[in-house]
Amino acid sequence: MKKALLIGVGNTVRGDDGAGIHAAEKARARFPHLDVLAVHGLSPELAETVSGYDLVIIVDASLVTDTLRASEIVPSTAERIQSHEMSPAGILGLAATLYNHRPSRAVLLEIPAVSCAFTEELSALTAGQVEACLEVVAGYLVPFQPDL
């Protein structure tokens, strides 16, 4: 049976940085058969988890885009580790290298962030893009519906 996983990344007390977590919580409610994780960062042990899925969607806030951006994640084995977390490409690369399996499709959804100041509120722009993100997620899940 094909399986899909959504990983929301962020910190909900740092304003728009929490967009990925908000998206994950909303996805958990809207797509009951989608597996959902909410994490502070992408740490190495997630590689084993993602290696068991056919579709992985990683949702994170981004300071470098003004619009919701979706891109295919190309596994990488070349990155440096920056602090404890890895990039989406690194996690996929680790899954393939260590566990000999990676999802047949992996997507990064970047939600535009306006401010990462200390607040639990999302900016209006980011809050709107969280909702838009869910529509994009729904599209990715269509091929998985019979199995979900």
Binding site: V39, L63, I81
Partner: protein, 476 residues
């Protein structure tokens, strides 16, 4: 005299954002070096006006790598404000999750942040000196490191229902009891993680031989050591009292109630860093430099109450000789691995304790004090949370003394020592820069991983002269 400044920014493979500047004269001799922390924390102000009961959930968001330490320490501050003694089962469960935090944090530090340097070499191709290079070198080693960290995460998830930012520990105890099914699940991990811990220690002994020429330069100086010890002098991680030891192994203060920390430790500031510079007040700023964390804990404790870790501690102590402490910061790595082994042994002991399955897990009370302090040993050292509340449990003021800040003076000293040893002012190689960064990573500093939005972490190295004219700008 003409001088230049070399900047490494940000320092990689540590938690957070920082840069290092190295000032050299016209002959290339190092005149000074500084470890700057650029990330400004607003958590203390952010907490004002919130209710006490939220503090665990809020302060655990300070950090993605050691949230449980903040959670437990926050809960202890809450205990003091409620003026309660928590049930024994609750204390044991808090101890269990604290050990899990040590284990997962230390595993990440050693296996994934520092091992690429040790097993591939400081001068190895930077593109390969990472976890993938490590896998190519020894796949099983890398895999076991990930599994070890996962075990710590599993304990946290089993207890708190989440891997990070669990609001499970609260003022008065914990929210949820433990059960036999969870216990048995965790016990099944023990043989594997014990073997991994022992394997890592064997690897570390080879590393000590391989890097015998480098090791003497890695923050090798006398300083004070500070940490919690149990009443009988054993290695402690949750309770106990503060001990202060000098670099010659003399206990200069002992049995200090952690709630009196402010009487003994001050916090200086420098205009060039957001990170404060704590010091031992009786000796004053600079002379009162002290180190906390695994190396400090290993130095100050009289013994470890688990057999395998105690045997390793004795080997560790032999490094120093009779009349000294282990003063070289490189041995933070060794101490970290001993603490991993200790954590595994102690976790097994706790899991076999029937009291862990008790159902009396929370003492409930109203606000009985308007001020409370909690302290515990986080992976990187002693952590203090101090709260002032009003009668309605609203936070009026917060002071957080984090472990990494307490090592700030020592980290700066380490950077200076390494720069003076390796840098000649003209040959700024990747290997030299990485050695200096590695000096910082001995302390495994956790500066700020509280925000991770994509695009927030550029990496570049700058060289500027005394007039701040840019001489070189390298991005990697």
């Amino acid at each position: 005299m003409s001088t230049s400044t070399i900047t490494i920014s940000p320092v990689t493979r540590i938690e957070g954002h920082a840069k290092i500047t190295i000032q050299v004269d016209e002959k290339g001799a190092v005149t000074d070096a500084r470890f700057h922390v650029n990330e400004f924390r607003g958590f203390e102000k952010f907490c004002e006006g919130r209710v006490l009961w939220e503090m665990g959930g809020i302060t655990s968001r300070i950090c993605g790598i050691c949230p449980t330490s903040h959670l437990v320490t926050s809960a202890k501050a809450g205990d003091a404000i409620l003026a309660v003694t928590i049930p024994p089962t609750a204390e044991k469960l808090r101890r269990l999750i604290t050990l899990a935090q040590w284990l997962q944090s230390h595993a990440l530090s050693f296996f994934h942040l520092s091992s690429p340097d040790f097993l591939l070499g400081f001068d190895a191709d930077p593109a390969k000196r990472n976890i993938f290079g490590l896998i190519a070198h020894d796949k099983e080693f890398a895999k076991r490191g990930i599994r070890l960290r996962k075990f710590g995460q599993e304990i946290i998830e089993v207890l708190g229902s989440r891997k990070i930012h669990t609001p499970w520990a609260v003022a008065g105890g914990v929210r949820e009891p433990f059960d036999a099914v969870k216990r048995d699940y965790l016990l099944n991990w023990i043989p594997e993680v014990r073997a991994t811990a022992l394997m890592a220690l064997e690897t570390m002994k080879h590393i000590h031989v391989t890097f015998a020429k480098d090791i003497p330069n890695y923050g090798n100086f006398r300083s004070l050591w500070v940490g919690l010890v149990a009443d009988d002098g054993a290695l402690e991680y949750y309770g106990g009292t503060l001990r202060v030891m000098d670099g010659a192994g003399n206990i200069i203060a002992d049995k200090i109630d952690p709630t009196h920390y402010a009487e003994y430790f001050g916090e200086a500031t420098e205009e060039w860093s957001y990170l404060k510079f704590p010091y031992y007040k009786p000796l004053g700023y600079q002379k009162g430099m002290y180190r906390v964390g695994p190396l400090a804990r290993m130095n100050i404790c009289d013994y470890i109450d688990t057999p395998l870790a105690e045997a390793e501690r004795k080997l560790f102590r032999a490094i120093a000789g009779e009349a000294d402490t282990v003063n070289n910061s490189f041995y933070y790595h060794y101490a970290r691995l001993i603490e991993i082994l200790f954590s595994v042994e102690k976790i097994e002991m706790l899991l076999h304790d029937p009291e862990l399955l008790g159902t009396n897990i929370r003492a409930k009370a109203m606000i009985n004090n308007t001020h409370g302090i909690g302290a515990s040993e986080a992976p990187r050292g002693t952590l203090f949370h101090e709260y002032w509340v009003n009668e309605d449990a609203l936070i009026q003021k917060v002071n957080l003394v984090i472990a990494t800040a307490q090592n700030n003076l020592a980290m700066n000293r380490t950077v200076r020592q390494l720069a003076m040893q390796y840098l000649d002012g003209t040959k700024v190689t990747e290997g030299i820069l990485n050695r200096i960064e590695a000096g910082i990573r001995c302390f495994d500093p956790c500066l700020s991983c509280s925000t991770h939005a994509i695009g927030a972490m550029p990496m570049h190295v700058q060289v500027v002269d005394a007039e701040h004219r840019l001489l070189c700008d390298v991005r990697r």
